[in-house]
Amino acid sequence: MWKWIQRQASPKVFYGTCSRLTPWFFWPFISLLLVGLYWSLVVSPADYQQGDGYRIIFIHVPSAILSMMIYAIMAIAGGIGLIWQIKMAEVVAKVSAPIGAAFTIIALTSGAVWGKPMWGAWWVWDARLTSELILLFLYLAYMSLNSAFDNPRTAAKSSSILAIVGLINLPIIHYSVKWWNTLHQGYSVGTGGLKDPDMQIALAIMFLASIFLYALLVSIKARTEVLIREQNSRWVKEEVSGVVL
């Protein structure tokens, strides 16, 4: 296992692994998504307080968790790139940023659409919402800093430092509903916020589907990035000429 991970540091091996894994991420994602949507929209009962309006939770919570998880992965991969000079870790960090930003946007917009019927406002400057918005700005800052350099190694170095410093925001987002008196409701997962087993199953399946979606997008985007970075090597030439479009 450890040997296998070490071998992924080679661009050619990593490219091959991503190609092979893509269908293994795509089909589980599609099947989990279909089952998850069915469980969220049909099987799960209406909530006793929020009626059917609560169903937004099944996209809001997974995307919010993913937005933070991807940030952590991005910062850790960036750190691995900085410390051990592994270029493929830099690739994973770079391609994760737009995916994480998209999950943050989904979390923020689905939250706004949920807030309107429940709180009467699309947006409030509550601690949870504000810290999640800062997460979006961190992703955007990372992406613009990364694209500001011509040399991908220099870009990875400076943007990884930004990502690692930004890690401080993750516990702030997580504990914001505890530390401050927020309009945002408390934890739904692990503390008995969601009590109905069907609701819990639906949320778990949607969360798994989101993880596969992230892995799928990384496996596609990382390949593109490896091709661009390694375009002067022989294996890329062979790989590209072998592809029939």
Partner: protein, 56 residues
């Protein structure tokens, strides 16, 4: 007639507008991400193919 009333014929009645809006925005974002990733990959391969055929 407000949007909320207009869409109340859909499942989830008075919440239909909000629930389907949230699911719609998310679906759109995910589909855009996926198509974009696929298209970028294809374009990169095409431009590299061009580059290599010119150099030969």
């Amino acid at each position: 007639m407000t949007m909320v009333e207009y869409f109340s014929f859909l499942p989830y009645g008075k919440y239909a507008f909000y629930v389907w809006l949230a699911y719609g925005i998310s679906a759109l974002t995910v589909i855009t991400l996926f198509i974009n990733a696929k298209r970028n990959h294809k374009r990169t391969i095409l431009s590299l193919k061009n580059k290599f055929s010119i150099n030969q």
